[in-house]
Symmetry: C2
Subunit: 122 residues, 2 copies
DNA sequence: GTCGTAATCAACTCATCGGTTGATCAACAG
DNA sequence: CTGTTGATCAACCGATGAGTTGATTACGAC
């Protein structure tokens, strides 16, 4: 009764985005890779805390890291971001499709009423 | 130094999606509104726990509730789902734009090398 | 080798999350 | 009125999240 691996990835990714500091990091990384120190600079929290945030993003596979001497630049992974929008859009579009269906029903009913209201129970 | 209201909404919405039970509820609601009892049925957890999940979704404005006698049907709110994809896509598309730019640079450099490497610094 | 810098590890505190059980409220049916 | 059903409220518990400080590793400069 364990959780499917893709579900775990979704858990971690959405949880990772549920924090303003990590969203700021994402926003920064969208303009190019950066080191932990560079990412920590605009925050008033400690560098260790930022390092932890990056680990959270890394476990969610939203970012990856490379090595460059003693620096460890962080890169954004747009493929995982796309997986999140894909999940959301799946259900959002189903819903909006139903809205369109409802519109169609309402229009049809209006048309029925328009041409003299035969007794058609719903 | 408080958090902007839109940031709080993002916090709550992403946190709400960071739970498989709540994602299942979203999936179910995409096919139409449902009551708490109906939503709780496929879960092995208590009805109170499901009620709490719905409260979390409601505070994130991902769902709304109406009244129907003693029932309280839950409806999905696709507008808020769309706000989430909008946030993600903003940064995802910036990134992919940079990928395209990098591609362009690489192709241009290849072309330069191809026609005998005039010294054109970036 | 020593020093300085980038980053992580370890241990701890405090708050919040996800779940439980038991009591309570609100709206119908008889 | 009494009962029943749908749903929430309240208090509590164990686990985990976000932050801190202090020590430690890894790499490069000298």
């Amino acid at each position: 009764m364990n959780e499917a691996p893709e579900d775990v990835l979704l858990d971690r990714a959405f949880l990772a985005l549920a924090d303003p500091a990590r969203r700021r990091i994402i926003a920064r990384l969208s303009r190019g890779p950066a080191t932990v120190n560079e990412l920590a600079e605009p925050f008033e929290i400690s560098k260790q805390a930022v390092s932890k945030h990056i680990q959270v993003l890394e476990q969610a596979q939203l970012v990856t890291r490379t090595r460059d001497a003693q620096r460890r630049p962080v890169h954004l992974n747009p493929a995982r971001l796309e997986a999140l929008t894909a999940w959301i859009d799946r259900y959002r579009l189903v819903m909006e499709g139903q809205f369109r269906s409802l519109d169609a029903v309402l229009h049809q009913q209006a048309a029925e009423r328009g041409r003299q209201a035969k007794d058609k129970p719903l």
